[in-house]
Amino acid sequence: MALKLHGIPMSTCTTRVLTCLHEKGLDFELVPVNLFAGEHKQPPFLAKNPFGQIPVLEDGDFTLFESRAITAYLAEKYKETGCDLLRHNDLKEAALVKVWLEVESQHYYPAIYQIVYQFFALPLQGKTADQAIIDVNLEKLGKVLDVYEARLGTTKCLAGDFYSLADLHHLSYTYYFMKTPWASLINSRPNVKAWWDDISSRPAFKKVAEGMTFGEK
């Protein structure tokens, strides 16, 4: 099979790519990586991604890491198939997708990552979550969500009145965030909540969410 994705079904970054693959209706193989055995930090894997992280995409002989680079590659290669994630036929729409992709990457993700990491990942390592770190990041995330609330009062989705890759990139971390005690940050903002309900109910994501069992017994 041409497309191979190295990763695991519960990983946020792997699921970012899985959702994109499903939105495009692509065939692929998910090749598990044994994180608990440290497979991602050993030489055969490091040859694919020197940063020792999942996921990694293999498309025939071509190897790619960084989930947002992988989704961008897939969205562009298969731009005429499935959902139009990049809005490539409209210069202005495509430009706004680029903007909100970076907003996720530089504003939303750094705050939400810390909360999800502290709440889900640390207990698995036998450590307790640092509430001070969580609190600082809840405040940061709240400010970002205020901007989103205003934006989503003017457009249906982030880049415009259309679903795009920018919205898709928010799904994985937000899904886990909604299982923390602080889901009210989303639920208390009506425009953000409506947007979240809309994008998280897309069939492509629901398929992926079934495997997102982090934190469940």
Partner: protein
């Protein structure tokens, strides 16, 4: 002749300088419009309309208004693909994907620790703010690990994404410029053989030298 694009923000801002470097590489005419951050202009309602996070740069190309420096760079590189440095964003999908991979590595792995160090070591003293030694130590450790990966990569490849200078390399210029020229952490780059060689090459480009000149120019007098 096309209307010059507009870039709002001071050239000393790392994010503004990232965009300027890209515009110069692509031979795109631009107008640099000052934003007086010392007077909080970037946090006022008029500015927040064009950049809701209250940051610089923001950017205008006729009716298209954008923000986030890396988004602006990608937009400029795509729209003006056929002028200036035509290899900046790749000439085929695989080249572009490789550039995106290293541009993401910059944004996700290189930028957080390097920009923390730039703030702590280059800006905090000027702003008379207390430095956080814990943050400095942690950031240096993180950056060292990233630069070890770069050292290996740049031993296999002349530039990050391949044999040509691309947007991926360009994106590293602003933070590294500060670290090398005004802090004592420059050694992290210059003492690594391949990283040092790469830094010399990319910072020696005409486009970057012009940006550094713009950074050194005295700020415009406020009205």
């Amino acid at each position: 002749m096309a209307t010059p694009v507009k870039v709002y923000g001071p050239p000393m801002s790392t994010a503004v300088s990232r965009v300027l470097a890209c515009l110069l590489e692509k031979d795109v005419n631009f107008q640099l419009i000052p934003v007086d951050m010392s007077k909080g202009e970037h946090k006022k309602p008029d500015y927040l309309k064009i950049q809701p996070f209250g940051q610089v740069p923001s950017f205008q190309d006729e009716s298209i208004s954008l923000f986030e420096s890396r988004a602006i760079c990608r937009y400029v590189s795509e729209k003006y693909a056929n002028q200036g440095n035509k290899r900046l964003y790749g000439t085929n999908p695989l080249e572009k994907a490789s550039i995106e991979q290293w541009l993401e590595a910059e944004g996700q792995s290189f930028n957080p620790p390097s920009s923390a160090l730039v703030f702590q070591l280059a800006f905090a003293p000027r702003m008379k703010l207390k430095q956080d030694l814990g943050v400095i130590k942690q950031s240096e450790e993180k950056l060292a690990k990233v630069l070890d990966v770069y050292e290996q990569r740049l031993g296999e490849s002349r530039f990050l994404a391949g044999d040509e200078f691309t947007l991926a390399d360009l994106s590293h210029l602003p933070n590294t410029q500060y670290l090398v020229s005004v802090t004592e952490k420059g050694e992290m780059f210059t003492k690594r053989k391949n990283v040092g060689r790469w830094w010399s090459e990319i910072s020696g480009r005409d486009s970057w030298k012009k940006v550094v000149d713009l950074q050194k120019a005295p700020p415009p007098k406020s009205a």
